[in-house]
Symmetry: C2
Subunit: 551 residues, 2 copies
């Protein structure tokens, strides 16, 4: 062995140190990701844990080990990078959520979601701003200016959409999932608007013009981002339908779908729109049109690939946040004033709790006023769950905090460190404590949640009666694909089913169904012939699904 | 619109310029990737073009456009990064090649592949070194020292394994594909050894000790890299078989397979082994064991995901090389001496042609001496194809050249620029010209290549007679998966088939079959019961393949 060691040692010196550090950290991260997946699998039956908490704990544990090995000097191998987070990790998670979301549930509750996402976030922002200004003025006058200079409140006003995905199950509580997650998507646009507003306007002198300008900005951002996502999705559907990639290679279809989805997000970032909104709507459109235009193999592949990428990105984020929580330089700076640090964190947590309560209950009441049927209303137990499930602040908050408080050119070292450590404390506490308690809480408040939600969502009884005979007829290969977790497409209710006599009666009593009915008519008459979709795909010999659809 | 433009403009200024440049370049790259895929699809029937040449041409075109827009200042948005190439783009390509390679074909020709990869690369290296030393001494004495200081010859001695994947088709010419691509994988280890040797030894005073040391280094690197890949593959098979991930989620299986494969490559890099060899053997082991342990959906997903990732990475590389070819600073430096630049490039190209001929024909002769059956021998037409198909130098050469000649601390600006522009010239010329001519050449030399190769590969007639009845029995769902491009598993010949009377007769005349027979016995008795594999997977209710296998 000594024979080779000489040359090996030379090689080691030859390679630059920085290169090798990144190789070491990639090895460590990939190993930890594998460990998280295996441990998450073993803890699957556990009623308290979920994958994100496991990853967070493993991350913190690894951070401690690195801290001990390095002799208290460093606790992380990589510095938290917002670029890594916003450019590579976030898009697959949000896209997959849009791709697998139950579209009907989402659009039926669209007005409530918009109410929560836009008005709710604004209320939350105002309460957290005022509360922090008040309490920081009490605690330390030197920190007071942070309120004006840094939009800390915009960071904590918004629900972390990645976290809500972890605690609510789309199949168990579809209504709550669509409300809380939908809010998380919409409030990204609100955050962008508020963030710019804090930077550009003097909020202490608000007048009607500025208020209208803010509303106009929000509407502009929301519409442009949505349109961009929809156009990207439709373009992918059109290209794949026209060129018929599957003829030569499945790989091209999969590649085009992935690249177009990613392109929509990056284009939104390029034009300073809300990338989250764009890629979410791109996912919805792709699952409605594009996914039906590709071959059977591509469908299975895209469904599972998107889910896997999202799954790995989520674990990566929590692992990363956990490892970065022990950012020792920042903690050292604040260690001389532990009281201030703790009180800032506690105030933030308290304000997040109060601010969310202050909009969830009133807005739910407002939303209930517009609903006629008692089954469509959000009852008190559900309101509590919505309030609780949206409390977590996770990686999105971390990334925004790092983005704000570690920028070059800021001399207020102590204040910045204080803000980052407070954010870390809030993120760790809310993710672990609120996260651990959410599963039991949902079970306690809604003991038979499956029964309840099927009563609440007025439509879920009707399509079920269609699904069974349709499955029996010949859709079994499609149904087989969906026995795994997550649902790509809607339940197979086509436009023809809506027009049935039994549905017509319901149409008169339900306004949302009317919108849905005309959308279906429009979809079948104009959209599907151009962009494809279920029942409008060309016949592919040898593909079992196509054969079944044609029969 | 003016209403919003004020705030938009503020936002633009707010974001730092470097962030936005990377967003712009990601957008451009993703758009170009989509364009390459669509154009590649449209040119599918074209007998001259292939996807890599399309990507290269689009890349050069984009480079020209950027050059014109920037007013001749810059031609690329990203600087060529070896890290991006070696850490992210190369692993999926090589892994997928190992995952989809025809294992029987590969191992039957293993000795010939080793001969080409190890001895052949050494011969090529010596010829190119001597030739360059001679010609550079003639052209310019100031460039002469490059021969000793920089291992330019190691860059050009090795076949580019990514390029060979593009021009040879595994299904049309399995023997040639396995020989040329296998050589490309093995010579990565040779290159690492030669590279270190050039750095550490004075090659002008070679003695027996140093020669033995080099041989020892090669054997050490080859064995450790292979063992690491095999262990990583077996570990993934064992984990998935024991923990039975599919019970809860398909995504975990897919994630574990991807992460373990990537981990094997990164571990090899960590220990300064040959990552290419490691990840290639990891792919072979995973396709033999792990792939059979996962659910039906995971199989379809992994097969297509690996292929898609490899496909996108390949296009990305060629696009990247094309865009970077107009590295205007480097060209400006050498523009005062166009004669020297052209003569260096021409000499390199000529040496590559001669050096490859100098080992392909003698080594093929040697290899033929060991084969008894005339059908197993490599005939002259095939030798010409092997020689021609391995001539291309592509992204691997580019990355190594950039790695060598753009390092910090080198003051010989002109010499470095000359080496890089020469490399670019050779890469562009060989990829476009040799690449364009390979398809027609293969068709010209082997007009009925399918018939020929089935005669040459002595075994392909025998298993075919098994495949047909087996397919009829109940393997049709497996067969359906493989009607696309590429083949994941071997033809379904199990150990039991080898023991049939007709096979026993062949066993006595073919020594390679004996090795294969004992491997099968060992595999069935010890390996498969532990690591899974075809016929040793647990019964999964609802999975069509499992049902068929059990029947």
């Amino acid at each position: 062995m000594g024979f080779f060691s000489g040359s090996m040692f030379e090689t080691m010196n030859m390679l630059s140190t920085s290169d090798h550090t990144s190789v070491v950290s990639i090895n460590l991260f990939v190993t930890l990701l594998c460990a998280c997946i295996v441990i998450g699998h073993l803890l699957e039956e556990n009623r308290w844990m979920n994958e994100s908490i496991t990853a967070l704990i493993i991350g913190v544990g690894t951070g401690v080990v690195i801290l001990l090995i390095s002799g208290g000097k460093s606790s992380h191998l990589m510095v938290f990078s917002e670029d890594l987070f916003f450019i590579y990790l976030l898009p697959p998670i949000i896209f997959n959520a849009g791709f697998q979301v139950k579209k009907k549930q989402f659009f039926r509750n669209f007005m409530t979601i918009m109410l929560f996402g836009a008005v709710g976030t604004l209320i939350s922002f105002i309460i957290i701003s005022l509360g922090m200004a008040f309490s920081l003025a009490l605690v330390s006058s030197s920190l007071f200016y942070f309120i004006y200079e840094y939009p800390l409140s915009t960071i904590f006003a918004a629900t972390d959409s990645v976290c809500t995905l972890q605690v609510l199950n789309q199949d168990e509580t579809p209504l709550l999932y669509s409300l809380v997650f939908g809010e998380g998507v919409v409030n990204d646009a609100t955050s962008v608007v508020l963030f710019n507003a804090v930077q550009n306007f003097d909020l202490s002198h608000i007048n009607t013009t500025i208020a209208f300008q803010l509303v106009g900005n929000f509407i502009y951002l929301f519409i442009t981002s949505t349109v961009l996502g929809v156009v990207a999705g439709l373009l992918s559907a059109y290209i794949i339908k026209k060129l018929y990639f599957g003829r030569h290679s499945t790989d091209r279809e999969v590649a085009i779908m992935m690249l177009m989805a990613y392109l929509s997000y990056m284009l939104a970032e390029l034009f300073y729109l809300s990338g989250i909104l764009t890629v979410f709507f791109c996912g919805i459109v792709m699952s409605h049109y594009t996914w039906h235009n590709v071959t059977e193999n591509s469908r299975v592949t895209t469904k599972h690939t998107f889910a896997t990428l999202s799954f790995v990105a989520e674990i990566f984020i929590f692992l990363y946040v956990g490892m970065d929580a022990l950012d020792i330089e920042k903690w050292k700076v604040v260690s001389d004033s532990p009281k201030t640090s703790i009180s800032v964190s506690a105030t933030l947590l308290g304000l997040v709790l109060v601010a969310r309560a202050a909009f969830v209950f009133p807005l739910s009441f407002l939303s209930n006023l517009t609903k006629k049927s008692p089954y469509e209303k959000i009852d008190f137990k559900q309101q509590i769950t919505i309030w609780w499930a949206g409390l977590m602040r996770g990686a999105v908050s971390m990334a925004l905090a790092y983005n704000q408080f570690t920028r070059a050119g800021h001399t207020q070292e102590r204040g910045n460190a204080m803000m980052i450590t407070s954010t870390i404390t809030v993120v760790l506490f809310s993710t672990v404590v609120f996260g651990l308690l959410t599963k039991p809480l949902v079970r306690f408040l809604m003991p038979s949640s499956k029964q309840l939600t099927s009563m609440i969502s007025s439509e879920s009884l009707t399509p079920n009666s269609f699904i069974v005979p349709l499955l029996g007829e010949g859709q079994d290969s499609v149904a087989e694909l969906f026995t795994g977790n997550g649902q790509v497409s809607e339940a197979p209710e086509g436009g023809r089913n809506v027009a049935r006599p039994s549905s017509l009666r319901m149409l008169l009593t339900k306004p949302t169904r009317t919108v849905h009915y005309y959308w279906r008519k429009f979809d079948d008459a104009f959209m599907r012939p151009v962009f494809g979709g279920r029942g409008f795909v060309p016949y592919v010999p040898g593909s079992p699904t196509e054969r079944n659809v044609d029969n």
